[in-house]
């Protein structure tokens, strides 16, 4: 079996194949690679402590169902699909408090009026505002698109939707988030500098 250095040079899909053949070290390597991105994804959907439990459950499920993975799709797509479903099931099972972003997104479908969002945005991060303003699917799509830089096709796979609907979802999410972006003074200051250099005009 290949050593640690050998495993590190392999792609996710190669490691997944080796893990399917019974190589525990390969799965451990995958676990190392995906611990941080999946945990970040799950944290954005719920509380920090719950995220670790969900992460553990996600990897357990992935290990138990490893024989079902087909290399036609990226391993990350498959894993994020499991992570999302596990997170949804966990939220349903544990009945989280109504203030968590995931719960808000799931229950209210993120359709709060813009004025309300404007009122609460100053104390929150953009992602929290996004979680309150968008649906769970939209937030997931936005995260996978901007943070994980996943292609639309793979996002569609994670969400179980068509490519077209994912594009629409992203377009609507942007349309809803762009006006809210201006409320982030700190962010605007950073963005302003770069934008002014590029555009050279101010938008009032």
């Amino acid at each position: 079996m290949a050593g640690k250095a050998g495993l590190a040079s392999r792609t996710d899909e190669q490691l997944a194949y080796q893990a399917q053949c019974g190589c525990a070290a390969s799965f451990e390597e995958l676990l190392r690679r995906f611990q941080t991105p999946v945990l970040a994804f799950l944290r954005q959907r719920g509380s920090t402590r719950d995220a670790e439990d969900v992460l553990q459950e996600t990897f357990l499920r992935a290990y138990e169902n490893l024989h079902r993975y087909r290399p036609r799709w990226a391993f990350s797509t498959w894993l994020f699909t499991i992570a999302r479903r596990t997170s949804i099931n966990y939220c349903r099972r544990e009945q989280p408090d109504a203030n968590s972003p995931a719960a808000e997104a799931a229950t209210s479908a993120g359709r709060q009026p813009i004025e309300e969002l404007m009122a609460v945005e100053s104390r929150q991060r953009m992602w929290e505002v996004a979680a309150a303003a968008l649906t769970e699917e939209q937030v997931t799509a936005v995260w996978l698109h901007y943070v994980e830089e996943m292609p639309t096709e793979e996002i569609a796979r994670v969400l179980g939707r068509s490519r077209g609907s994912v594009k629409t979802m992203l377009f609507r999410a942007r349309k809803r988030l762009l006006p809210l972006l201006s409320e982030f003074d700190e962010g605007i200051a950073v963005v302003d500098g770069v934008a002014d250099e590029k555009v050279g005009t101010n938008y009032g």
């Binding site: 676990l31 990897f59 762009l178 555009v199």
Partner: protein, 183 residues
């Protein structure tokens, strides 16, 4: 500072996506660091899951073996039943064919016996019977050899049906009826 209200057109014109930058930056800032403790915890959970899975597999194998044995038993019983039923059907058909062959043989034998009797009768009493036939013919009636032959066939048939027909059939399989009759 004046607030800027971004629109898609502005983003396209700027060639810069402030929303994407903002979301990426926030995600990077809040990205958790790799935790060896969490890693070990997950690895141990998977190991424990694997052990319980293997125990479950042993139980499943035992149950599978029992199911397999029961399946074999049921299959064997079904096969035996099918063979028994098939044998009964075959035996019935053979018996029917045998009975039909005996019937044919008896009929054939009876007609032969009758024809011999009529012939011998005619030969032995040729003059009288010829005269009688002629007389009957001249009176517009049918000759007597026909009814005689029928009567003889019926008599022979009734006689043969009293004989042990299986013996007759056994002989018929080795010798044509005419030859046996000639003997």
């Amino acid at each position: 500072m004046a607030r800027r209200h971004w629109k898609e057109a502005d983003v396209r014109q700027a060639g810069f996506d402030p929303l994407a930058e903002r979301l990426r930056r926030e995600a990077t800032e809040s990205r958790p660091v790799f935790s060896e403790t969490l890693h070990r915890r997950i690895v141990e959970a998977i190991g424990a899951g694997r052990r319980s899975q293997s125990q479950a597999t042993v139980r499943q194998r035992g149950a599978a073996r029992r199911r397999h044995a029961f399946g074999v038993f049921v299959t064997a019983a079904c096969l035996l039943l099918a063979v028994a039923v098939g044998w009964r059907v075959y035996e019935g058909r053979v018996a029917a064919a045998r009975k039909a062959a005996i019937e044919r043989y008896v009929d054939e034998l009876a007609s032969q016996v009758a024809s011999r009797w009529v012939l011998s009768d005619l030969l032995a009493d040729r003059g009288a019977s010829a005269g009688f036939d002629q007389l009957m013919g001249s009176a517009g009636l049918s000759p007597r050899s026909g009814p005689l032959a029928d009567n003889a066939r019926a008599a022979a048939n009734s006689l043969l049906r009293r004989l042990p027909i299986d013996v007759g059939l056994a002989q018929s399989s080795t010798q044509p009826p005419e030859d046996r009759f000639a003997q």
